[in-house]
Symmetry: C2
């Protein structure tokens, strides 16, 4: 049997996995000789065992806890449940990763009717003793036994009314004693048993409650949002109580060694005298700044500054500390690496290196790649945000803040954007809405998940988006929507926060994020370290230029179809689709050719000699056809066809499962003219730009949705025939590559055969995830919610690559591909290309690059550096 209980002096700061962050740091501070109230930590393994045993604390664990308690009594010289020198303890959760406020805490354990009197006598402060007692009963009932707080609050209100006072503090020791009795009666009424007077029974109940709180709903949600595995479990810290509320020489506070908002190197924090920790957090009384402690108690202040400095140096990072002063004596209750804004994170990282406190690699690891996102988008003004109340919450689908008048169609949004900021509000978006989305500051949808059309496109654009906000009830025709009983008319201002999912009525001031100087320094270090290249997914020169500014080293995915939705283009593509002869189809494609060529020229100009991967037409054709009667009539007129004939063609395009339908390379196989036109556009554009600029361009043509090598061979034959002819005619030398998306399970399994034809693989992990799981991205939301609840899945496999399943297929394909073509270029261009944990996977599998939307390029660069550093550390 492993050891389940560690006294603080037995542990150290490196034992996070076993003791949790809080426990490890309490041990570390103890060993550094700092003033820490003593106690012990019950390990995370004990928590895991508790769940394995069917939510039961095994007898041997109980025994070990009791032994731990005995040792703690010996160290402190106090005794649990003793009437002479009673030991009171707190019981707190503490997991490997910080999960602030997510799990439970119980204070003042060890009190009962007898002990409280002894405690009153010993402290000479009966009011304080009885207040502690009634708080303990209340907290224990709520947290351990799940009797709601409200019943106890009602009793306090009654007592105050009876005594004719307004504040809790006006109640006397006698009142509080009476309240404690009422509380115990309430406890018995609700649960049918007496409140436990045995200190050890109290302790075991509290330990169990902390274990249980690991799986409370808010902890589960927090873990999912922060990629914390559900099987880590939480440790439990049992620590002697110290009291900041024992009078005017007592107090409590929190402080950071640097400013967590700005990163400035100055002690930053606040404290309250004669108060407990919860009073500071609750914000009822206004705390003083930490510097004012120098006036109140210069000795304690000096001691604290010295400790803070020592801790920062010891940990090599900015510390977030909790302390209590009990009758003039300082106690450290916690220290940890402090959370900080993105801005502060960069400054601190750069400063630490400059101060010689961290290496570049250490500094890089101190910044969470996801945090960079906040630097790249507008945010709400902090003061304005504080004054605002959200009225609904959706999914935080694309970060940033947006404020503007709400419009319900893409056309109106585009039109009204000329007169000021707008927010597009839709049931859900479709490719037709792209221009409206582009014109809007933000997008709010009622349906759809993190990978819905709105979410994906908005992230690509860097536009703020809140998706799947079911609280919004659209009445589009009538020109308003409802949130609860709030009515918002079309044209009225709203604000949305794509980083939190919050929706607000009215305008909230926004501020543009600035890329501060440290950003360049810091990202430069990331680039020095990483070996994985970072490309971008970009369909327009504007996107491409933005991505290059963010450090993209090429285009990993240009989705040609995104160029097809505007005015004349959509008309031409509709003609192409509705053609009944090859000649008609070629005529329609001929109209598209100059537009496509122009698009590609723009991309090549923007990217210079950086590699550009262009994917051939991918989506099912029905995405392009008109649905409105007037558009159908217009198309029929243009094509000189019967309206009914057009309708028949559109109806024939219907598929039961379009995601598994007539799309990808299947389009080029049934309509080779499309591949011919696209090859012509790519190669002519490259030649034109090369002639004009001298850039040595090597276009990479990518064939999507290949599942069988013969599919690739068929399309590749078209590409090489057309390309070679154009190049020969041009008299210019030009190389090009033909490769494929690997996005179908069968492609992974047969990747060796496919590598015989493909010069590069780009893993399309969106589709690969769909087909490997059998999940439809558009429909999966309902299922995923149930799966999170039952802990079948802990994260959205469309956002974070499923390494166990999908990852195994990716690995297999990479190995098979290399076995046939050792120098094959391997990349990934699904949404996962911008997800840090997925980027790490890509590094470890040995891919050459990841490709992600422009706004995620810096994230991917940092994640790639993290991956390299972590891999080196394991060597």
């Amino acid at each position: 049997m492993p050891k389940f209980v560690y006294q603080f002096r037995e542990g150290n700061g490196k034992m996070r996995e076993l003791l949790g962050g809080k426990g490890a740091n309490l041990a570390e501070m103890t060993n550094l000789g700092m003033p820490v109230p003593q106690g012990f930590t019950i390990t995370t393994e004990a928590c895991t065992k508790y769940y394995e045993d069917g939510e039961v604390i095994a007898p041997e664990l109980v025994e070990e806890i009791m032994e731990g308690l005995k040792e703690m009594e010996a160290i402190t010289g106090k005794k649990f449940g003793d009437l002479e020198n009673p030991l009171l303890v707190s019981v707190r959760s503490g997991s490997r990763a910080s999960m602030p406020g997510m799990m439970d805490t119980i204070l003042n354990l060890g009190l009962n009717d007898e002990v409280v009197e002894a405690f009153a006598k010993k402290t000479g402060n009966p009011r304080f003793a009885y207040d502690s007692y009634r708080r303990f009963i209340q907290m224990y009932s709520d947290v351990v036994m799940e009797v709601g707080k409200k019943y106890f609050e009602a009793l306090i209100d009654e007592m105050k009314e009876k005594k004719g006072v307004k504040l809790d503090t006006e109640l006397t020791a006698e009142d509080l004693k009476e309240l404690a009795n009422q509380f115990k009666a309430e406890y018995k009424a609700k649960l049918g048993v007496d409140f436990p007077s045995d200190a050890k029974e109290q302790l075991m109940g509290a330990v169990k409650a902390v274990f249980r709180s690991w799986n409370n709903p808010r902890a589960i949600v927090y873990r999912r949002m922060n990629d914390i595995p559900g099987d880590w479990g939480t440790a439990v810290n049992v620590q002697a109580m110290v009291f900041g509320n024992m009078g005017e020489t007592s107090g409590t506070g929190v402080a950071f060694t640097r400013n967590p908002s700005t990163g400035e190197k100055v002690l930053y924090g606040e404290f309250l005298m004669n108060a407990q920790g919860e009073d500071v957090v609750a914000g009822i009384r206004t705390p003083q700044s930490i510097q004012q402690l120098a006036d109140t108690n210069p000795a304690v202040y000096a001691q604290f500054v010295e400790i803070a400095d020592k801790l920062e140096k010891h940990y090599g990072d900015m510390q977030d500390m909790e302390f209590t002063i009990e009758e003039g004596k300082l106690y450290m209750l916690q220290t940890r690496n402090g959370k900080r804004t993105a801005h502060a994170a960069l400054k601190i990282a750069v400063d630490l290196v400059n101060e010689g406190m961290a290496t570049k690699e250490e500094a890089l690891l101190k910044v969470d790649p996801k945090q960079l996102d906040a630097l790249l988008h507008p945010q709400f003004d902090a003061a304005a945000l504080k004054a605002a109340t959200p009225v609904a919450k959706g999914l935080p689908a694309s970060p940033g803040a947006a404020t503007g008048r709400a419009f319900f169609t893409a056309e109106k949004a585009k039109e009204e954007a000329k007169n000021g900021k707008v927010v597009l509000v839709r049931l859900e978006t479709s490719p037709e809405d792209i221009e409206g989305m582009d014109a809007a500051q933000g997008v709010l949808t009622v349906r759809g998940g993190m990978t819905s059309h709105a979410a994906v496109v908005a992230r690509g654009m860097g536009t703020c988006c809140v998706a799947g906000c079911g609280d919004v009830k659209m009445h589009e025709e009538e020109g308003y929507f409802m949130i609860g009983d709030i009515r918002v008319n079309e044209g009225e201002p709203i604000s949305i926060d794509g980083s939190t999912g919050n929706v607000y009525i009215g305008e909230i001031k926004t501020v543009e994020a600035e890329l501060v100087g440290d950003f360049g320094t810091f990202m430069g270090w990331a680039d020095e370290v990483r070996t994985l290249k970072v490309r971008t997914n970009a369909d327009t020169p504007r996107d491409a230029e933005q991505a290059v500014r963010f450090g993209a080293e090429g285009i990993g995915l240009c989705r040609t179809e995104h160029m097809f939705f505007e005015g004349e283009r959509i008309k031409a593509i509709r003609e192409m689709i509705c053609s009944s002869t090859v000649e008609q189809r070629k005529a329609a494609l001929a109209k598209l050719l100059p537009m496509q060529r122009g698009d590609f020229e723009g991309l090549f100009m923007a990217m210079g000699e950086r590699p550009v991967t262009i994917r051939f037409l991918d989506p099912p054709l029905h995405e392009f056809v008109p649905t409105a009667e007037e558009d159908i009539v217009e198309l029929a007129n243009e094509m000189n066809m019967e309206v009914d004939a057009i309708k028949t063609i559109i109806a024939d395009l219907h598929e039961f499962n379009p995601m598994l339908g007539h799309r990808g390379c299947r389009l080029a196989i049934t309509y080779p003219e499309i591949a011919e036109m696209q090859t012509t556009a790519v190669i002519e554009a490259a030649i034109n730009v090369k002639k004009q600029t001298g850039f040595d361009i090597v276009p990479e043509i990518m064939i999507p949705l290949v599942g069988e090598v013969k599919e690739l061979k068929f399309v590749k034959n078209i590409v090489t025939r057309v390309a070679d002819e154009i190049i020969a005619k041009s008299g210019i030398e030009m190389k090009y590559m033909v490769g494929t998306m690997i996005e179908i399970p069968r492609a992974c399994v047969t990747a060796d055969a496919i590598a015989g034809e493909a010069e590069f693989f780009s893993f399309g992990t969106n589709d690969l995830t769909q087909m490997s799981f059998g999940f439809s991205r558009d429909d999966v939301g309902k299922i995923l919610n149930a799966y999170y609840e039952e802990k079948i899945l802990e994260s959205d496999p469309f956002a974070r690559l499923d390494q166990t399943g999908v990852g195994t297929l990716v690995k297999m394909a990479a190995e098979k591909g290399r076995s046939v073509r050792p120098n094959i270029k391997l990349g990934i261009c699904g949404e996962h290309g911008g997800d840090p944990s997925s980027v790490e996977f890509c590094h470890n599998v040995g891919l050459n690059y990841v490709s992600c939307s422009p706004y995620r390029v810096p994230i991917a660069r940092l994640a790639a550096a993290h991956a390299k550093i972590k891999a080196d550390m394991k060597k």
Copy 2:
């Protein structure tokens, strides 16, 4: 460079792969000392090279053919293009597998204006010589140069009119000489070049035409229907001409060593004197039975009987032979293992073993598993047949009974077959009609004998056929036919009996065929040999009983949802779906419970102690909801809900890609009550039947669509909790198993983890094929057709397991599963379970059983025996 040309004496019967079936057998007969007109075979590898070289015959191949020709001239003593002793040759295709009539043949090569005169002189028969010449020009123009036959037929008609005659045979030598000139002029007019007079040019053109014909559309369709790979290629046989039409001592015929319809051991065939092979096949003149040759030419008959006997013994199988008598001398043109009816195949197989000519294993291999299908097809109900009067009689060309609406073209038959049973009625059939024949219940032809195209192909397909029914007078254009004075309009029902040749007006009830004595013997041998078990997919006691009669050893898949579509059941399931509370849902499920329990009791009774695998609810719920307004209103009334609320629920069930949606185990995870009800029904039914009968029933509960082991664990927990409680209460001992479908790619990849929970795997290869390929079965038709045309795929992966891709995943899952649970039971329950090539794969991968529809059980049993024998042969 490999050797591309083999003289007949250089080859042998085992060289099928290289020389094709025809070439190998001509070589074998040559070496057996039989009278074979000499020649050489160009190998299948030469054909493959021709395609690899871009449809060009390489110079070295031309050279080798010319050398082969020289050797052939040396052997025959004749010379190609010579005026003294001209060599005339035929050029015929011949692939590894027999593809009768699918590819091209050209006769009489070597003739030109000069040679024809020499030939006329040499044969003393100028009319014969010029008739041969004009036929050659016509055939060459059509087959090699693709100038349609019709132009030449028009010239013949003109000539007959000019001469005032009705029959071709009435034209004189001079007329035919003139026609030959007109034909050459027509050739030049159409192609702009002279008809080739150089014999070697003619030969190379013909060889190329045969190579090309390997990829003509009807050959491609035939290959797909018969699982013949497209990369095999065809050999080309160049053989000295012999003439059956040189006068009354010449003739030609075909014969089988046993009766191909009944299997009876008696020489069976027919011949025509003064005729060419095409005259026999075309059925224009009525041939004589082979036995009549004893009267016409006793010496030749005796020689032929001896040869036939020798060939059958040599090959150990019934032979199908072609012969020609040229001026009293017998020549063997072909021998091959004869196609036969299923009935005959069984009888011959059993007889061969009894005669000591074959081992049981050899006999088993002589019957194509797919052929058994014909034995299981319906016959006319005896009573109904008694009441019916035949109105015409043709040849009993392929046994079985068929009833359906009459259609006159293959296209219409294929189209109308979607709306119900059809019978194809044609003057005669040609290879273009194959798809129509396949779609029809039966085929009725006006012309042709037992070896006509219609007869041979129908027997191969196991489709009922009445051939040569001259009483039928077609008025195809006008849309009817007459039998005497009975008029039958196209689309009216008729019935035909392929075992008697009878034709009836109107429908006649059909009943299932009884399995005759040889069937039991033969299938007994298959069961002795095979190690792979065969189960059935059955949802009702009736299906289960039928399957047991066919030899099923258990149920591999009971689709519980198929029980849900009737009257009260569909109402209850709709209530379940539209429930908004768990209580409502449980109430609806409570209504379903007794029905489900009853169903399972029926299944357990039918299956006795054989294993029964019951799959839990699988399809997306929207498949059950009403669409008609009245049904929606009824449902609303029953549930006491608003109609709009019901409509909202139905609308919410909509999914973009239902195949990847809310189905399978996902239903049980979101609605655990469903799994509870189904577990209760299964276990209670098993207990009831065990109590009643004493059968030791071990129900196998199968959880569908698992992609992650935690899904299975979740549902398994429900199953074991509910089942154990019921069993404990019942006081009866009962074991049960919980397993899973493996039908999602991720399940294959993580099969080791899944095997930790699953006691068995059943591969659902339908869904696995969908997700591995990214094909939607409901939409894939259009894509597959294009893929067949471009030879990207050669068979429907939903009918024949894709061993390269899907098969690799199956293999991986089987290995991973066994690595964790060595005795895990493995089976397959997709459509592929009844496909012989897929069954062989399952045997080789080491599955324990296949499961297929009841009518495919015998096929799977034989296929499993084949698989075992073939695997043993490879050892």
